[in-house]
């Protein structure tokens, strides 16, 4: 009950917040379109770098919106109100991450095929690109929630979050782009996707626990 209410409330805030929650997807589009301008319109080259470019941009876009995950509620006291409820903090974290993922990563995934065409990604890589984003972006949000909760109350928290979570994002990037290349070059994508799925399950169990501990410290 309280779990669904929290998701609904966060989504409502995201929608009414206007352009703020679309920042991530706008950043994603802008940064991905900069690459053809930077490296030149040569289609073979773009085709080769497309999986990496799309994934790095998605990763940075997801990270960009992270410090809003708990910061707004922390600043205005809503976090205390939520902590004063019976919903365990681990579930609070999952609810907030889920709402955050729906409002920032889902639009990003929807727009990805268009950008993939722009970058001349081979058609055979499209399904794997979508699978890898569907499995990988929730991992980014979950890991990011640890960084976001740990940096609550610090000034310039945003940069600190990046430094904390970017190294942990690296395996996701490697396996996701590995899967897409595996699909394009025909040496198979399932192993990489399965590792991503396993990482998603692991972070779903471990990240909320760590974030909840950091949130308890933040409200001291």
């Amino acid at each position: 009950m309280a779990f669904l209410t929290l998701i609904k409330r966060d989504l409502r805030l995201a929608i009414r917040g206007g352009i703020g929650s679309l920042m991530a997807v706008v950043f994603f589009i802008v940064s991905a379109t900069l690459f053809p301008l930077g490296v030149g319109p040569e289609s073979a080259l773009l085709e080769r770098i497309a999986p990496g470019v799309l994934w790095v941009c998605a990763l940075l876009a997801s990270m960009l919106s992270l410090n809003h995950l708990f910061q707004d509620d922390y600043d205005d006291g809503s976090l205390e109100v939520i902590i004063l409820g019976p919903l365990p903090l681990e579930l609070v974290t999952i609810a907030k991450v889920l709402a955050h993922w729906i409002s920032t990563s889902l639009p990003l995934i929807v727009i990805t095929p268009v950008l993939a065409i722009l970058l001349n990604l081979d058609m055979s890589g499209f399904p794997t690109l979508m699978y890898s984003l569907l499995l990988g972006t929730p991992i980014l949000s979950l890991i990011g929630s640890i960084g976001a909760s740990l940096t609550l109350g610090t000034r310039r928290g945003g940069i600190l979050v990046s430094l904390l979570v970017l190294p942990i994002y690296v395996p996701v990037l490697i396996f996701a782009t590995g899967a897409i290349e595996g699909a394009i070059f025909g040496f198979g994508e399932s192993a990489n996707l399965l590792i991503l799925a396993a990482a998603l399950v692991a972070s779903l169990v471990l990240a909320p626990w760590a974030s909840a501990a950091a949130l308890r410290m933040a409200v001291e």
Binding site: L13, D75, D76, E80, V81, L87, P88, E220
Partner: protein
């Protein structure tokens, strides 16, 4: 005071913040219908004591019991059974007044509250107004209405009367009186005069540590906050 009616009690609390001893040896007992008023100058530890009682902050030593159980044994459950209204109003610019009430009730695990509770603090006409258009006093009143969205015996209020006008302070006093008549307990920190009949008063300056208590037996400060010459 009868031992059986004792509902919340603190024993020899000692509180450290930023490496400094704020208060020590603070003890009180409150039973059903009781009220405690904390008074004292800025920085005397009123808010810190309230945050300890709300289960956010652990005391350096001493313990707090609620219904004979140490609150820090199961602090998440304890927190879900009390109300704490701190300095921050917890009001979202993009949610309407009634949406706030619904969310607060749901976050405590209760159904949508009766919108009539808005009348008590004179907010009825504002129920569809988003938080960003509320004045400071209206925000404060909305924040206090949170106390009525879900039942809880213990109310902990940190400076509830800030930016309230006289009429609203009267309404707040009525709310507190009704709550106590129903067996509720009120702990409140305040600078302004809020009338709470038969309330215990704690003056925080009585629990201020002696000069020597800032230091350990060797005579050096217990925590060295060295910010250097910059």
């Amino acid at each position: 005071m009868k031992k059986t009616g004792m509902d919340i009690s603190a024993h020899h609390l000692e509180c450290f913040r930023g490496g400094r001893l704020i208060f020590q040896n603070l003890t009180f007992e409150l039973s059903k219908g009781g009220a405690l008023t904390l008074v004292g100058p800025n920085g005397s530890g009123k808010s810190s004591l309230l945050r300890i009682l709300a289960g956010f902050l652990k005391p350096k030593s001493g313990h707090v019991q609620y219904n004979k159980e140490n609150i820090f044994d199961n602090v998440d459950t304890y927190r879900s059974k009390i109300h704490y209204v701190g300095h921050l109003d917890a009001i979202k610019p993009n949610l309407t007044v009634s949406e706030h009430l619904n969310f607060w009730a749901a976050s405590k695990g209760y159904e949508k509250p009766n919108q009539d509770i808005l009348e008590l603090l004179d907010l009825k006409t504002l129920s569809e107004i988003p938080g960003k258009f509320l004045s400071a006093g209206q925000k404060r009143r909305l924040s206090l209405t949170r106390l009525l969205t879900a039942p809880a015996q213990l109310w902990i209020l940190d400076e509830p009367s800030v930016s309230l006008d006289e009429k609203s302070i009267n309404s707040l006093e009525n709310m507190l009186a009704t709550h106590r008549a129903d067996g509720g307990i009120v702990v409140i920190a305040t600078h302004t005069r809020i009338s709470l009949p038969n309330s215990q008063n704690i003056s925080m300056s009585n629990f201020k540590p002696l000069k020597s208590a800032f230091e350990n037996p060797q005579g050096t400060p217990m925590v060295d906050l060295d910010y250097g010459s910059w």
